[in-house]
C-alpha cells in the first residue's frame, strides 16, 4: 500500500518540469509504473483504492487518480458507492487536462459509464460530463463519441441546461479525418484538439455519419425545447445540408427538414429556400417528403388563418407520426404574433380594435374575443422583445400600438466596437483554419498533386525555348531574319 501510494504521488515531481520534452519523458516513465501497478498489484487495488484516493489530489495527481478511479468504477462499481462516486464527481470537475491526455481511453470509459446513467443521477451526470468534455477540449470544436452520449442523456432525461454549454459550440473537426497523424508529444498545450483527440488516444471511438446527424438532431431538439428557434434552425440546417455523395439522403436528414420548415416559421415567419449546397438528391427528397409541411408553411404567410388551421388539422396524423405535434402547436400559436409583426410593414400606428379585426388566431381560426386579449398578447410580445413598439392611450380612450423602427442607429464608436467584436471572432477561427490547412497541406494526395503540377510546370518551361524563339522572330523584321538565315 505504501509502495503504491509512493508510485501514485511520484508524478508530478516536486521540481518544475521546464519544457514539454522533460514533461513528456517524466510522464511516460510514470505511465509505465502505473501500468505495472494496475496490471500486477501486490494486493488487489480495490481493497485500498479508497485510501489511495483520499491521499492523492485529483487536480494535482490527475493521472494516478484516474488510474485508481478507473479500476474502482470499471467494469463495475465497488463499495462504498457513495464514497467512490463523490470522488468521481470531484475528479471529473477538476482534473488536469494536460495529464489525462495520456490516458484518454480510461477517461472515456469512465465518461461512457457515467453517460449510461447507472452511476450518477442524470442531472449530475450531464453536468459533470459537459464539464469534462470542455476540459479535454476547451474550444469544443471537435466531435467525439462522448458528445453523442451526452446529448442522448441530456435530451432523454430533460436535463438540457447543463449540456447547452457543449451543444452551443461550433463543431468543425470530426474523428477519423484523413492524414491526422499522432503528435510527437501529447502534452504540448498548443496542439489543436483535432490532433490529440483521436481514436488512438482513446478520447473517442470511431464515429459514423449517422452519429453526427443524430447529435445535430438532438441538439436542434434541445434548442427547440428551450424555444431558442434561431439556434434550432441552425442545427437543423446543418443536418439538411450535410454533405452527401452518390445521391445519398438519410432518414434523419428528411426528419430534420420537416422540423427545419416549422422552426423557420417560428424564427423568421416564413420559409427560406433550402441552401443551394444541400445535396441535390436530398433536396429532391425533401420536396416530396416534406410536402404537407410546405403546405402549412405557404399558408402561414397569408392572412388566411382558418385555412391554416384546417390544413393543420387535416394532416394531424402525419404530425403525430413524425412526432412534430408540439412544434405544430407552437407554429399555430405563433401565427397571430407574426401577423401582428407583419402589420408594421403597412402601419405606423394602429388601434388595438383594428388589430383585433385584422389578425386572426390560427388556434381557433377566428379573431380574438376581446380587445383586452389582443392587448395582453401585444404586451407579452413587447416584453419578450419580439416586437418593437409601445402601447399608448388616446385622449378619447382608444388604445393604440405605435411601431418603433427596428434598427436603431449606433454611434460611430459603438459600431466600431461591434465590428471589432466580429473581427475578434474571426480571429478565433484562425487556429481552426491553421489546423485544417496543415492537415490538408501535408496529406499524401495533395503532395502528389503538387509534385505533378510542378512537373508539368517544368515540362512547360522546357517547351518554352521554342515558344520564345518564335515570339522572338515575330518581333524582329521578318525579311531581315530570312536573309540572315539564308
Amino acid at each position: 500500500m505504501d509502495q503504491a501510494l509512493a508510485t501514485c504521488l511520484a508524478f508530478p515531481p516536486e521540481g518544475p518540469l521546464d519544457d514539454d520534452v522533460a514533461y513528456d519523458q517524466a510522464i511516460q516513465a510514470h505511465l509505465l509504473k502505473l501500468t505495472k501497478l494496475l496490471k500486477d498489484p501486490p494486493v488487489p487495488l480495490c481493497q485500498y483504492g479508497g485510501q489511495l484516493l483520499e491521499l492523492t489530489d485529483p487536480e494535482y495527481n490527475s493521472l494516478s487518480y484516474l488510474a485508481v478511479l478507473h479500476s474502482l468504477c470499471v467494469p463495475s462499481l465497488v463499495e462504498p458507492r457513495e464514497f467512490v462516486l463523490d470522488k468521481l464527481v470531484r475528479f471529473l470537475l477538476g482534473f488536469d487536462p494536460r495529464q489525462i491526455r495520456y490516458a484518454g481511453s480510461h477517461l472515456s470509459e469512465i465518461l461512457t459509464a457515467v453517460c449510461n446513467g447507472s452511476l450518477l443521477p442524470p442531472a449530475v451526470a450531464v453536468e459533470v460530463v459537459s464539464a469534462a468534455i470542455l476540459k479535454i477540449d476547451p474550444t469544443g470544436s471537435m466531435f467525439t463519441s462522448t458528445h453523442l452520449q451526452l446529448a442522448k442523456l441530456a435530451y432523454n432525461t430533460n436535463n438540457i441546461d447543463p449540456a447547452l454549454k457543449v451543444v452551443e459550440k461550433n463543431i468543425v473537426f470530426y474523428p477519423g479525418m484523413a492524414n491526422s497523424k499522432r503528435p510527437a508529444m501529447l502534452c504540448d498545450m498548443t496542439l489543436s484538439p483535432s490532433v490529440y483527440i483521436h481514436k488512438d488516444t482513446g478520447f473517442t471511438n470511431p464515429v459514423k455519419a449517422t452519429s453526427v446527424l443524430e447529435y445535430d438532431l438532438l441538439s436542434g431538439m434541445m434548442f427547440c425545447s428551450k424555444r431558442d428557434w434561431e439556434k434550432a434552425h441552425a442545427a437543423f440546417e446543418r443536418i439538411l445540408t450535410f454533405p452527401t455523395r452518390d445521391g445519398g439522403c438519410s432518414k434523419i436528414m428528411a426528419e430534420a427538414y420537416k422540423k427545419w420548415v416549422l422552426v423557420s416559421l417560428l424564427s423568421k415567419g416564413k420559409v427560406i429556400p433550402i441552401p443551394q449546397y444541400a445535396g441535390p438528391a436530398a433536396a429532391k427528397a425533401y420536396q416530396i417528403l416534406g410536402k404537407p409541411y410546405k403546405e402549412v408553411a405557404s399558408l402561414f404567410d397569408t392572412t388566411n388563418a382558418e385555412e391554416l388551421r384546417s390544413e393543420v388539422e387535416k394532416s394531424s396524423q402525419i404530425w403525430q407520426d413524425d412526432q412534430n405535434v408540439g412544434l405544430m402547436k407552437e407554429v399555430l400559436s405563433a401565427y397571430q404574433e407574426w401577423q401582428i409583426k407583419n402589420l408594421q410593414k403597412v402601419f405606423s400606428k394602429i388601434s388595438i380594435a383594428e388589430i383585433r379585426q385584422q389578425t386572426k388566431s390560427a388556434q381557433t381560426g377566428a379573431i380574438l374575443n376581446s380587445d383586452d386579449d389582443i392587448e395582453a398578447l401585444i404586451q407579452n410580445m413587447i416584453i419578450s422583445n419580439s416586437l418593437k413598439g409601445v402601447l399608448e392611450k388616446n385622449d378619447d380612450g382608444t388604445v393604440f400600438l405605435t411601431f418603433l423602427p427596428s434598427s436603431t442607429v449606433l454611434s460611430e464608436a459603438e459600431y466600431a466596437q461591434e465590428l471589432a467584436k466580429t473581427a475578434v471572432q474571426l480571429k478565433d477561427l484562425e487556429p481552426i483554419f491553421k489546423a485544417t490547412n496543415e492537415r490538408l497541406g501535408t496529406s499524401r494526395e495533395y503532395i502528389k498533386h503538387l509534385i505533378k503540377e510542378q512537373k508539368r510546370a517544368a515540362d512547360k518551361s522546357e517547351l518554352d525555348p521554342t515558344m520564345g524563339f518564335e515570339s522572338h522572330v515575330d518581333d524582329e523584321d521578318l525579311m531581315g531574319g530570312v536573309t540572315s538565315t539564308a
Partner: protein, 466 residues
C-alpha cells in the same frame, strides 16, 4: 327560354361565356370608327363590339353581317348570325341567308380549285416568279375564305421561291397578318425577327418601320410587357405609312395604345421626353387629343384629372379588340402610379385628402393603399390613429451598419461551414447513396474525388449568395 328582352337574354349568355360586357355608352361613332379599317379586322372588331357593348349591340351585329356578306368567309357570317339570332330575333338579318351561303361556298370551292390548278401549271413550268405569285394568290384567297391554317401553309411555301428582299418582307407580312388573326403572339415576334434579316437600306427600313413596330407593340401588349409595348408604339414613325397598316390597327389606335401604355409604365420625366416631346408621335396624339391631355395632366401632377379623363373613356377602351383584356391591368397600373407620384413630394398626407383625390365618392382608399404597400409599390405606412399616410424615411446609416454587421456574421458562418464540410469529407462521413457498384467504385477512389466534390457544391452556394 324566350326572354322578354332578347338583348338581355343575349348578354346573360355572353356573361356565362365569361365575355366582357360594357353597359356604358362609348364615345365612339360606330360608322366612323369602322371606316378607319379595312380588311378582315373590320369584321372582328364589329363582332367584338356586338358581343360586348349593350347600347351598340344590334347596330354592330348588323354591320358585322353586312361586312361578312361582302366577303367570302361563310363561317364568319354564321358566327354573326348566331349572335343576332338571339339578340334581335325580329330583325330581317336574323333570317339565315342560305342561298348566299350555298352560292359563296360553291364559288369558293371553284376558285380554290382554279388557283390550285394554275399553281400546278406554274410548277411544271418551273418559273420561280410565277410559282410565287400563284402561291400568293392562293394564300390570299384562302385567307379571305377563312381557312387560316391552309393560308399560312401557302404563304410559308412562298419563302423558298422568294428571290428579293422585298419578297421576303412580303412573306413575313402575310404571315404576321395570319398569326395576329390567330392571336399567336410569340409567332408574331418571331416573324418580325425574320422580316428584319439584314440587307435593307435605310429608306426601306423606314418604310417598314411602322408595320414592324406596330405588330411588335401589339404582341408585347398581349404578352403583358407594357413598357416594351409602349416603346414600340412610340417609335411607329410616319403616320402616312402607318395608315397603310389599317388592316391591323389604325393611327388612332397607335395613339391610344402608345399613350395608355406609356402612362402605365413610364415615370414623369420619361413621359415628357418620350411622349410629349416626341415629334413623330405628336402626329398621332393629335388624332386622340384626350390621350395627350391625360398625359400632360399626369406630367403636371394633376393626377385625379388624368384619371377622370381615362375613366370617361374606359368604355371605348373596353371595346377595342386588342386593349379589351388588358384594360383592368393598365388602369390599375396607372392608378397606382398616380398615387405613388402624388405621395412622393410629401412626408405625410392625411388619408382624407388622398380619398378626395383618388377614391370614388363615399369610398375609402385604405384597403387599396394596404395592398399597394404590401406589394411594395408604395413605400409608406398608414397611421390609422391620426388618419395619416406617412412616408418611410430610410436611414441609410442604420441600414449600412446593419448590412455591415450582417455581412461580417455571414462571413464567419460561411467560413465555419466550409471548414466543417471539408473535415466531414476528410473523415469520410458523408451520407452515401446506395447505388451499388458505382458507390463501391467511388469509395475506392474517394481520396481523389472528395475535395472536388465539396468544392463544387460550396461554390454553387456561393454563387447564389453573391
Amino acid at each position: 327560354m324566350a326572354s322578354a328582352d332578347p338583348i338581355l337574354h343575349f348578354f346573360t349568355i355572353m356573361e356565362s361565356q365569361s365575355g366582357v360586357i360594357v353597359k356604358e355608352t362609348p364615345k365612339l361613332d360606330l360608322d366612323l370608327y369602322i371606316a378607319n379599317y379595312r380588311g378582315r379586322t373590320c369584321f372582328d372588331r364589329l363582332l367584338l363590339i356586338g358581343r360586348s357593348s349593350v347600347p351598340l349591340c344590334v347596330d354592330a351585329l348588323k354591320a358585322a353581317i353586312s361586312e361578312a356578306k361582302k366577303g367570302k368567309d361563310v363561317q364568319r357570317y354564321r358566327d354573326a348570325w348566331e349572335c343576332i339570332r338571339i339578340a334581335a330575333p325580329t330583325d330581317p338579318e336574323s333570317q339565315l341567308d342560305t342561298a348566299w351561303i350555298d352560292n359563296t361556298e360553291k364559288a369558293n370551292r371553284m376558285e380554290t380549285a382554279r388557283l390550285e390548278a394554275e399553281l400546278k401549271q406554274y410548277k411544271n413550268n418551273l418559273v420561280k416568279e410565277s410559282i410565287r405569285i400563284g402561291l400568293r394568290d392562293l394564300g390570299e384567297h384562302l385567307e379571305q375564305v377563312g381557312d387560316l391554317g391552309a393560308a399560312s401553309d401557302a404563304y410559308l411555301r412562298m419563302r423558298p421561291e422568294a428571290s428579293t428582299q422585298a419578297h421576303i418582307v412580303g412573306v413575313a407580312k402575310h404571315l404576321i397578318g395570319i398569326v395576329i388573326q390567330r392571336r399567336d403572339w410569340p409567332s408574331v415576334l418571331a416573324n418580325v425577327g425574320k422580316m428584319l434579316t439584314g440587307g435593307m437600306s435605310d429608306e426601306e427600313q423606314k418604310a417598314h418601320q411602322p408595320f414592324q413596330k406596330l405588330v411588335t407593340g401589339i404582341a408585347n401588349l398581349h404578352s403583358d410587357k407594357f413598357y416594351e409595348a409602349a416603346k414600340n408604339f412610340l417609335e411607329v414613325g410616319d403616320p402616312s405609312i402607318c395608315q397603310g397598316c389599317n388592316d391591323i390597327a389604325s393611327a388612332n389606335d397607335v395613339a391610344t395604345y402608345g399613350g395608355l401604355l406609356a402612362l402605365a409604365s413610364m415615370d414623369r420625366s420619361e413621359l415628357q421626353s418620350r411622349v410629349l416631346d416626341n415629334s413623330s408621335f405628336r402626329n398621332y396624339l393629335e388624332l386622340e387629343p384626350h390621350i395627350r391631355k391625360a398625359v400632360s395632366m399626369f406630367v403636371n401632377g394633376r393626377y385625379s384629372a388624368c384619371l377622370d379623363i381615362l375613366e370617361s373613356y374606359r368604355a371605348d377602351y373596353l371595346l377595342d379588340i386588342h386593349l379589351q383584356p388588358h384594360v383592368p391591368a393598365i388602369f390599375s397600373a396607372i392608378r397606382n402610379k398616380c398615387i405613388v407620384q402624388y405621395f412622393i413630394p410629401f412626408s405625410c398626407v392625411t388619408l382624407e385628402s388622398m380619398n378626395k383625390s383618388f377614391a370614388k365618392p363615399g369610398e375609402s382608399l385604405e384597403s387599396e393603399l394596404i395592398t399597394m404597400i404590401r406589394s411594395g409599390v408604395l413605400r409608406a405606412r398608414i397611421n390609422t390613429i391620426d388618419k395619416l399616410l406617412v412616408a418611410v424615411s430610410t436611414d441609410d446609416r442604420a441600414e449600412m451598419q446593419a448590412k455591415g454587421l450582417e455581412m461580417a456574421k455571414n462571413y464567419e458562418k460561411e467560413a465555419l461551414e466550409r471548414i466543417r464540410r471539408m473535415n466531414i469529407a476528410a473523415a469520410d462521413l458523408e451520407v452515401k447513396g446506395t447505388r451499388k457498384g458505382v458507390g463501391n467504385a467511388m469509395s475506392s477512389i474517394s481520396g481523389e474525388t472528395w475535395f472536388d466534390d465539396t468544392r463544387r457544391q460550396l461554390s454553387q452556394g456561393e454563387s447564389s449568395a453573391g
